[in-house]
């Protein structure tokens, strides 16, 4: 029996223990909130050998850091701002002074920034760090109450000081040693330091403290730019410098404005073709609001939640139709100067305003300006140092320089940073964080986090890719590996005769003729299939999925890690697993000839492919073969073969055709995305030798149809059993306005109509988009149509209205992911719910909680999206490498389709490489925006080029001299040679 006690609270304490405040609800009602807290004397201090506090101790008495000011043992007690601004420093392995983390600080960090809070939480668990969390608000001696006229900030500062002095006296009182550890309050706030010193507390600024540390040079680079004394413009000596950007409105004005409807809130998205333009989608307008020019974008960075004011309707306009490259335009900017009034600025202003004012199309959309920021979504960015921004390139120079870092992503502005290591960082990929963006500085200011390695080296590129898309790629820790079966790779299904928990309620399907069909080289086989004729003329078909939930139990370290990773990420030459290798490629992989645990969905289907009934069971299977798509296809088509396995494949194939036909009739879309395959030379060298488009075989679609069938059947079952928390997947129908542009282009260029009234209508009209002279045209239109759609997402069935469950692309009223539990976490959840639905195992309580399921799925959705982008970026990188290899030998000349037209260029798509690129013209050319046509001067007069036209381009990879980054450069060869333009 656990110890149940009543916490007694003396009446006199009411002032300290009760808190009354008023808060406003979402509906605008004011309510009174009364809370109490119980103060205790048993909140531990965490210092070794404390005679008073019991329990676990992490703060060592022996000195750990050889600090120039504090030679003996000492503990740091940082205030909130230190974590908010210097997280990179604190995370560094070199920064290893034991630390006391106050509850007040944790709560404030949590309140201010969730991402930082999550990093702080990870830090608390990190191995090398000695961090003790002290719950100061619950300890009677350190709990404080906000006084009248005291701001929450001042109250917290006072609480932090109180905790600091308590620690000092507590350590002295509970240790008999002559020299006891000192407490060092770390704060950037001068006033706080002064007050602390009055109270007899040692207080340091972060910089001051770090300077005394042994590795100070390296650590000082990690120091974020706080306070204006850090990066000061060198040339603006004569008084206050001019504001380049308008000030933000105060938060209360923003909130009131949003509420009254004259301001709008949304996520800022930058335009990848034009650094002077961004858009924001807000509910009040069907078209995104256009933010034109630096001043109107007012220091917004991709992903920030911003507040905009919309301009008068007569100022509305179309987006610029010119490609404006940041690097080309701004190459003369000086990093040392935060930039205000000099000559270059004038020139820049002129060229920028020219770039802004070019729009021929009369398609208007709302315009506006950013008046405030609700939330910054800054993170670390992979960058290159712009070599021209260095004042001294002497590689031994250790002087501090202010340089530009150019992010790899085209959506981000350049970042100014100060570093002592500038010369050694040139030519490397580095990680940079943005710290702040003052209105007197043209660029955001940041600091260097760490170097990833030489640019274009595969290791650096790969790591930067993973970082850029926030893929967790660290090896699995011990706690996670401890969750694996103790037998390791010797684990096998125990003999049935012995019974045991594994065989409980499991069906023995070992004699079933089951096989798997996957792409060549597939190691994580998570699905296998079978089909056989039944005596009544119907067909029994089964999908057998690796029984991952047998190994990954809820609420274990392995489960938490898998949930945090969300998905396995596939890169061209690497795979970042969601689950440890042993499970993914061995114990859970449904390899042939071995007994494996599976979760089976078995249907009785009529010969027409209608479901007569379906059942689900846990099973033991022994796959009879692992085919590649190609092998399965050959086997199916070989008239000489007629064994059980071949029959099974043929049966599955016939059914799959029926199923597909039904789906298509129901209005499913056949979408396309540019998929290419990279051939690697050998697994060691991993040099790509060629790129080819992926081939689709009949057997691909065979597997696909049955996976869809399984997912739909499982979705129905779990939704029925757990209507409040079923893990489902949906694809919302795209808003019609998304298609407007494509419809217009098709109409004007090809005379084709795209009917987007429903997915069925769209499917039908996509089929009609044919160009007899050009078979690839249809694929191109499909790719473009796909880009107009929304992306599918996981959701919790109790969180959205029933009529929004549908999957638009698949034309199914319900859907989930069940078939790949090895590589997708949502599938693991679906497995657990299905297992509970059939009464095999009880459902873990967290899967009954709507909030919990929502929270997990939010992460999984994000990881899924990021993983896909990382995969695509990896392909792009290798396509680039392959191109570089090829272009060194000969000119690469490929056919391409025009997909966009600009005033000064063409956007083209090279389908053979799955590559999108830009052809730029330096000279002004004639541009007809309404007809998506440009006229390029050629030797025999002007030649018109329009969207959907087939052209031929030369593709070269050039190294950008400044950033050392490879850049694909395309020039037009046919119909006109544009190399001179």
């Amino acid at each position: 029996m656990v110890d149940i006690t009543i916490r007694k609270r003396p009446r006199i304490e009411a002032v300290v223990t009760q808190r009354k405040f008023f808060k406003k609800t979402a509906k605008g009602k004011v309510i009174k909130v009364l809370r109490e807290r119980y103060l205790r004397d048993d909140v531990g201090c965490g210092v070794e050998d404390c005679t008073e506090c019991s329990g676990h101790k992490t703060l060592p008495l022996a000195p750990r850091v050889n600090h120039s000011t504090f030679s003996g043992a000492h503990f740091l007690l940082p205030d909130t701002n230190v974590f908010l601004s210097q997280m990179d420093l604190i995370e560094s392995d070199l920064f290893n002074t034991p630390m006391i983390l106050l509850q007040t600080v944790i709560e404030e960090v949590r309140h201010r920034s969730l991402p930082l809070y999550n990093r702080l939480k990870a830090l608390m668990k990190a191995d090398g760090k000695r961090i003790w969390v002290f719950y100061n608000e619950y300890r009677s001696e350190t709990a404080i109450v906000r006084e009248e006229n005291e701001t929450p900030n001042d109250r917290n500062d006072r609480g932090i000081r109180k905790a600091s002095s308590w620690y000092g006296s507590h350590i002295a009182a509970t240790h008999r040693q002559s020299s006891v550890p000192q407490i060092v309050l770390l704060t950037e706030d001068v006033a706080n330091r002064t007050k602390a010193k009055q109270d007899g507390i040692k207080a340091h600024s972060v910089k001051q403290y770090v300077e005394g540390m042994p590795e100070s040079a390296k650590l000082l680079d990690l120091l974020a730019a706080v306070g204006s004394e850090e990066i000061a413009p060198t040339r603006a000596a004569g008084g206050a410098h001019q504001s380049l950007y308008p000030d933000y409105l105060p938060p209360s004005t923003l909130a009131a404005g949003i509420k009254s409807g004259h301001l709008h809130q949304g996520h800022f998205s930058a335009n990848q073709y034009n650094y002077l333009e961004g858009t924001v989608n807000v509910p009040a307008f069907s078209k995104p609001i256009l933010l034109v020019g630096r001043e109107n974008m007012n220091r917004s960075v991709q992903g920030d939640v911003i507040v905009v004011e919309v301009f008068d309707e007569k100022e509305w306009r179309a987006p610029a139709d010119e490609v404006v490259d940041q690097e080309a335009n701004l190459k003369n900017d000086d990093a040392e100067d935060s930039g205000s009034d000099d000559e270059e600025d004038q020139i820049l202003a002129v060229s920028e305003s020219k770039a802004i004012q070019t729009s021929a199309s009369n398609e208007r959309q709302p315009t506006g300006r950013v008046v405030g920021i609700i939330k910054r979504n800054w993170r670390t960015y992979v960058c290159h140092i712009d070599s021209t921004s260095l004042t001294s390139s002497n590689s031994t120079s250790l002087s501090v320089q202010t340089v530009f870092a150019t992010p790899v992503s085209r959506l981000l502005p350049r970042i100014r940073l100060r570093t002592r290591q500038a010369p050694t960082l040139v030519g490397q990929k580095i990680l940079v964080t943005i710290d702040r963006w003052e209105n007197t500085s043209r660029y955001p200011e940041g600091h260097f986090v760490r170097a990833l390695g030489k640019a274009e080296s595969k290791e650096a590129e790969q790591e930067s890719l993973l970082l850029e898309y926030e893929v967790a790629y660290r090896p699995f820790g011990k706690a996670i590996l401890d969750c694996l079966p103790v037998e390791g790779d010797k684990w096998a299904v125990p003999p049935k005769e012995l019974g045991g928990p594994v065989w409980r309620d499991r069906e023995d399907l070992r004699d079933m003729i089951i096989c798997s069909i996957d792409p060549p080289g597939c190691q994580d086989i998570d699905d296998a299939l079978h089909a056989r004729k039944l005596p009544n003329g119907n067909i029994e078909a089964g999908v057998h999925i690796a029984d991952v939930s047998n190994f990954v139990h809820p609420d274990t370290p392995m489960d938490h890690e898998a949930a945090a990773r969300g998905t396995t990420v596939y890169l061209v030459d690497n795979r970042i697993d969601m689950l440890p290798h042993l499970l993914g490629t061995n114990l859970c992989s449904l390899r042939p000839y071995v007994e494996r645990l599976a979760f089976s969905a078995i249907w009785e289907l009529s010969p027409e492919g209608d479901i007569v009934n379906v059942r689900f069971c846990k099973s033991v299977i022994a796959s009879k073969a692992a085919f590649t798509y190609e092998e399965a296809q050959t086997r199916k088509d070989d008239p000489k073969l007629d064994d059980e396995l071949t029959q099974s494949i043929r049966l599955l194939n016939t059914l799959a055709l029926k199923l597909k036909q039904k789906r298509m009739e129901a209005g499913a879309l056949n979408l396309a995305s540019p998929e290419v395959k990279i051939h690697l030379d050998s697994s060691e060298s991993s040099d790509p030798i060629d790129v080819e488009q992926k081939e689709q075989r009949e057997t691909n679609s065979l597997v696909e149809e049955f996976m869809l069938l399984a997912n739909i059947s499982v979705a129905r079952k779990i939704q029925e059993s757990f209507p409040g928390t079923a893990v489902l997947r949906r694809h919302l129908p795209p808003p019609r306005t998304n298609f407007e542009k494509l419809q217009d282009i098709l109409k004007k260029r090809k005379g084709l109509n795209l009917d987007v009234s429903s997915s069925g209508a769209l499917a039908a009209s996509l089929d009609l988009c044919q160009d007899p002279t050009n078979p690839a045209f249809n694929t191109l239109v499909r790719i473009m149509a796909t880009r107009c759609m929304l992306s599918a997402e996981y959701f919790c069935s109790g969180s959205v209205a029933r009529d929004t469950f549908g999957h638009y692309g698949l034309a199914s009223d319900i859907y989930t992911h069940f078939t790949s539990p090895i590589r997708r976490y949502a599938d693991v959840l679906a497995h657990r719910q299905l297992s509970a639905a059939i009464g095999y195992s009880p459902l873990h309580p967290v899967l009954h909680s709507k909030q919990h399921v929502e929270r997990i799925l939010d992460v999984v959705n994000r990881r899924h999206r990021m993983g896909q982008m990382a995969g695509r970026a990896s392909v792009e990188f290798y396509v680039g490498l392959a191109l570089k290899g090829r272009s060194e030998k000969t000119t690469v000349r490929e056919e391409a389709f025009v997909i966009r037209t600009f005033r000064n260029g063409l956007g083209v798509f090279v389908s053979s490489l799955g590559l999108e690129g830009l052809v730029m013209f330096k000279r002004d050319i004639k541009f007809d925006a309404d007809n998506y046509t440009i006229s390029v001067p050629g030797p025999n007069g002007e030649v018109e080029v329009s969207v959907f036209d087939k052209v031929v381009v030369n593709i070269a990879v050039e190294k950008d001299r400044n950033t050392q980054r490879g850049k694909v450069k395309m020039t037009l060869v046919e119909p006109v040679d544009s190399s001179g333009m």
């Binding site: 029996m1 656990v2 110890d3 149940i4 006690t5 009543i6 916490r7 007694k8 609270r9 009760q18 808060k23 609800t25 009602k29 309510i31 009174k32 909130v33 009364l34 809370r35 109490e36 807290r37 119980y38 103060l39 205790r40 509850q103 949590r110 309140h111 939480k121 608390m124 969390v133 719950y135 608000e137 619950y138 609420d555 409040g724 009880p842 459902l843 873990h844 309580p845 967290v846 009954h848 909680s849 909030q851 919990h852």
Partner: protein, 265 residues
Amino acid sequence: MSSRVEILNEGGYRSDGRKQYELRDMAVDLSQQGAADGSATLSHGLTQVQASVFGPREAKLRSQTFYDRATINVELSIASFSTGERRKRSRNDKRTLELAAAIKSTFEPVVQTNLYPRTQIDIYIQVIQQDGGLLQACINATTLALACAGIPLLDFVCAVTGGVHSTSSMLDLTTLEENDLPYVTVATMPSSGKVTLATMETRLHVDRFEEIFRLACDAGQVIHKEMRAALRTRTAVLLAAVQSTTVPSGDAGGDKDDEPMYEYR
């Protein structure tokens, strides 16, 4: 809004500084309230209710009169200022009636109604302040008020709430916790170990339910001890008062542990 407050933090503390199995402060006041035959003001943390018992007295309505036992009426009124948001609830409010019905059915098998045929026992409960565990407070206050009124009970009835946060169970929830967690209110009879009430307003998995149920029963014992101590103190005071007026010599005190009215164990 509540997501900003951590229900149970990494250090094992709840938002009000308690640990999982710590109950809130319990304050009991058993002083006489007006004409009531027995009354009790009880608070669990910030939740405060006052229960008054009248009776057994002659039944007023013939339709409610039973020849072999007493009827129990429960009336609940919730002060409009008891919650943060001022809200007037009428006596016929669905939630109020529901609570009253739950209390009535909890006590019907416990009060020895067969000792008082053709009478009625009226229980009035006034909710003064709410911060979670309303039903629990009402039941505990009623037990005390009935005992003060000298109405024979088979046993104490001790109620407590229990909920689960992710996988950790916790006892005696505040409003903040109740809004966020699935929870149950369990009323037990500590000496027999019988359960007279278990209500749930949210879904709770059966395995979790069992765990919380057991915990709540154990917590019932702790609450029982507290309630018994309060009653003993009052008895002692009464006894002293009686002795000082009628038996000045003071040698007839007798055994202090012997509760004069009923042995509640």
